[in-house]
């Protein structure tokens, strides 16, 4: 009997332990509701950018509205956060029953939500200048034309952009300095002080001292290997990180106009190629692209060179051990990257991390724990930079027209079911979060840009070193948002956002290449697969 009881207790403990994995949503659920104030419920996608920015925003908003009286017997506003790692369809599915009134999320099937009447029409709030906050611009005027076209459904706005993030390659400047991994203009290795001007030929920009072409890049990887490092690491459990980084490699090669073609399907494609064995044969003339022949864009040279770039990394065994391991997720990858510079536990130091521009903020807790063990290793104390994509030899100048694809598709909107008396408040909150002050505050806290046009001047020095690099990168790039008001695109959003690298049954190039597929076969397969799929898309 005693044994049975003991077993029962053990089972209960075991079951309870499994619940621990569920964690909590770190929202305001456990904080008391202030009955003397009106509550505004704000749902936040608690991903890489966390919620610190929203808490700061909420504090200022509450202060601004401390004397507002929206309900009988209540004075002031209480912004209550509902943190949830929910995005896209999950958000739409729960909209009708959700208590949240304002949403900040990612991966939103925006047009679907707008057409289903889930969002409040905020056209006036978007188009009216933000004069109450001392600004002359409207939210609309802070958006690019591409954004305006996307967010305007049948002439009305139902949401505004939120933040933006790009996948790329990141490196530790101090490691490069101490290990002499920077390059001079002549392509020899040196330290930080002796570094060259980089691909843009201008000193003082983010690409200083970094490889300008494939030859230099792989020379750098060889040097890292020689020094006993694992040159590049990415999360094996999230192979999309590598795939989306390759999308940006292709964008850097193709430039803004040619990358945009993948979403607008309208214009001449100038860099189409076919492969004759491994020989690249360029099309003699630009091919006019329209909705019926959009699959031809799978022949863009940038896509082939991106695949070739990945193939050389994989075939050369330049990657870290976790890059193809299912237990290594993005947090694990960040941890290994950050700790490998300090801990000699048998694992090799990782030179370059493939991740998104949100990674530094996402790794806040890792930095926190590291700072306790290794002074000077906390967030903002180490200098991280963005590695420019090395162009094929002889085409170094392509990096000057650099374009970058924004991958997060984030947006802010108001639940259509919000109570009438709170509508103006929610609209005001949306406007408030798009003021220059709020945009700058977001960037200062997260080191990431909001998806608007705004300037950082005096505040730039308040960003972490990495934040400054990201900002410099944004300023030097044209951002391509993965959306378009072309019917072919918005009727097949899922396909165009998630099948960038579909080739036969393969969708993840790094995995296919690691399993022995060649970049040539992958590239050729992409074209034939897209051509076959197109019949379904243009119906």
């Amino acid at each position: 009997m005693k044994a049975k009881r003991l077993l029962a207790v053990l089972m209960c403990c075991l079951t309870a332990c499994t619940m621990v994995a569920c964690g909590n949503n770190r929202g305001d659920d456990e904080d008391p509701i202030d009955p003397t104030k009106t509550q505004l419920y704000v749902s936040n996608y608690d991903g890489g950018f966390g919620d610190e920015w929203l808490r700061a925003l909420a504090d200022r908003f509450e202060e601004l509205h401390k004397d507002d009286r929206l309900e009988e017997g209540k004075t002031g506003i209480q912004v209550r956060l509902v943190n949830a790692k929910k995005q896209g369809n999950q958000i739409l599915d729960e909209m009708l029953t959700s208590t949240a009134e304002v949403f900040f999320t990612e991966g939103l099937p925006y047009r679907d939500g707008a057409l289903q009447d889930y969002f409040l029409d905020i056209t006036d709030a978007v188009t009216t200048p933000l004069t109450e906050y001392g600004e002359t611009d409207s939210i609309e005027s802070k958006m690019t034309v591409q954004q305006q076209n996307w967010f305007k459904v049948n002439g009305r706005y139902y949401a505004i952009p939120h933040y933006e993030g790009y996948y790329g390659m990141f490196y530790d400047i101090d490691t490069f300095d101490t290990r002499n991994l920077f390059m001079t203009d002549a392509g020899t290795f040196t330290n930080y002080a002796g570094r060259g001007k980089g691909a843009d030929g201008v000193a003082g920009t983010y690409d200083d001292g970094l490889p300008v072409n494939m030859t230099q890049f792989f020379k750098l990887l060889d040097e890292m290997k020689r020094q006993g490092m694992a040159a590049i690491g990415w999360p094996g459990a999230n192979p999309r990180y590598m795939s989306d980084m390759l999308v940006n490699y292709s964008a850097a090669y193709e430039g803004y106009a040619q990358t945009m073609l993948n979403y607008t399907f309208n214009g001449p494609a100038e860099n189409l190629i076919t492969l004759n064995g491994s020989t690249v044969v360029e099309d003699a003339e630009a091919l006019p692209i329209n909705e019926s022949n959009g699959y031809e864009l799978r022949r863009q040279a940038g896509k082939y060179y991106a695949l070739e770039f990945a193939e050389r990394i994989i075939d050369g065994n330049y990657y870290s051990s976790g890059s193809f391991n299912q237990t290594s997720d993005y947090l694990d990858s960040q941890t290994k990257y950050l700790t490998s510079a300090f801990e000699n536990n048998g694992a090799k130091e990782i030179g370059i991390l493939i991740d998104g521009t949100w990674w530094e903020n996402e790794a806040s807790s890792i930095f926190e724990s590291m700072a306790k063990r290794y002074p000077g290793s906390g967030k903002g104390e180490r200098r991280f930079g963005i590695m420019p994509f090395p162009m094929p030899d002889g085409e170094e100048s392509r990096s000057q027209s650099s374009a970058v694809v924004e991958h997060l598709m984030s947006a802010a909107f108001i639940n259509k079911n919000i109570a009438d008396y709170k509508k103006d408040l929610a609209i005001d909150f949306i406007r408030f979060c798009a003021t220059d002050e709020s945009l700058i505050e977001f960037t200062k806290i997260t080191s990431a840009p909001k998806a608007f046009q705004y300037d950082l001047t005096d505040e730039l020095s308040e960003l972490t070193y990495f934040g400054q690099q990201v900002w410099s990168f944004k300023q030097n790039s044209k951002v391509v948002y993965k959306f378009s008001d072309t019917p072919l695109y918005y009727m097949n959003t899922n396909y165009f956002q998630n099948n960038n690298w579909e080739s036969g049954i393969q969708t993840v190039p790094s995995v296919a290449l690691e399993e022995g597929m060649s970049s040539e076969d992958y590239f050729t397969g992409m074209y034939s697969t897209a051509k076959t799929s197109w019949a379904n898309l243009i119906q």
Binding site: M19, G107, R111, D112, Q116, Q497, T532
Partner: protein, 311 residues
């Protein structure tokens, strides 16, 4: 006379009260069934014949357009072929090893053989732990602990992990499905076996019946209705079984691990999957139902007709 009428009235009143009570009791579950089962399924059948019109914002009927696409995909898509093949393999392996071993282990436990209590607990343990936690533990075991050991034992080996390597990942998923689903099967079979009348077993023993003969001639026929139920439920699940692929790989399931269940599920859970995807998925679901339903009915009939009888 008045007394009889009075009594009849009271009886009638009681009947009315009982009826009202019954209606109140059944109303909510019935409404739930109507809305969340009948309406939802009926709606998804209709959805299979529609397409979302992004200009007007409503679904419009397009006849059999979605079905044509489904059949086209079945004929041309290599991923669908792999999914069909894997779904069938998962079913057969599940039947041979999952059901077969579950029957043997259940019998072992039922016969109260050595360590039966230990086995009972150990086999059922995976079923009571949250599947996400189980997946996590299993993943770390097969792709962190085991590779470390293997690479240490066989120096020079660069084994990444059972779920990470191309050749082992599908087999590993199947193993996990059988292992994790073992407990519930065993529980059901042991429950059915415990219901067998002891006198029948004792009579068989007096007639000199051995352990295996007892299993073949008495135990299995007596639990055959339970076996039939599980067998048929498994067939019905061929088109929906995801072999836990999503829990292990998220949306990045390697192509050689796709099943029909995951093929359909993937397009639903992808964040940006929109209104345009649903009709196609509904059509595919409907095609699956049309294919699987007659198989289930025929198999059920055959099992009842030719299966061992308890008589």
């Amino acid at each position: 006379m008045t007394e009889t009428v009075k009594r009849e009235r009271i009886c009638l009143k009681k009947k009315y009260k009982d009826l009202i009570f019954y209606i109140l009791l059944i109303a909510i579950p019935l409404a739930q069934f109507c809305i969340f089962y009948i309406y939802v399924n009926f709606n998804s059948v209709l959805l299979a014949f529609k397409r979302f019109d992004y200009d007007t914002g409503i679904y419009r009927y397009v006849g059999f357009e979605n079905f044509a696409r489904v059949f086209r995909d079945f004929a041309t898509s290599e991923l669908v072929s792999i999914s069909v093949k894997n779904s069938l393999i998962a079913y057969i392996v599940g039947l041979l090893f999952g059901t077969g071993l579950a029957l043997l282990f259940s019998y072992y436990i039922y016969k109260k053989s050595f360590g039966h209590k230990f086995f009972q607990v150990m086999l059922f343990l995976p079923s009571i732990v949250s599947s996400v936690a189980m997946v996590m533990m299993f993943k770390y075991f097969t792709d962190l602990a085991l590779p470390e050991m293997i690479n240490k034992i066989f120096s020079g080996s660069e084994f990444i992990g059972f779920l990470s390597e191309e050749n082992t990942r599908f087999g590993t998923l199947l193993f996990f499905c059988i292992w994790a689903g073992f407990g519930s099967n065993v529980l059901l079979y042991v429950g059915a076996m415990n219901g067998i009348n002891d006198s029948i077993v004792e009579a068989a023993h007096l007639d000199g019946c051995g352990t295996m003969r007892e299993f073949i001639s008495i135990t299995f026929p007596m639990i055959f209705p339970t076996f039939t139920t599980l067998f048929i439920v498994n067939i019905a699940g061929i088109a929906t079984n995801q072999i836990n692929a999503y829990l292990f790989y998220g949306l990045d399931v390697p192509p050689n691990c796709y099943t029909l269940g995951f093929y359909m599920f993937k397009d639903l859970v992808t964040g940006t999957a929109g209104l345009s995807e649903y009709p196609y998925l509904s059509a595919m679901g409907l095609v699956m139902t049309v294919v699987v339903t007659p198989i289930v009915l025929v198999v059920r009939k055959l099992l009842i007709k030719f299966g061992p009888s308890a008589e």
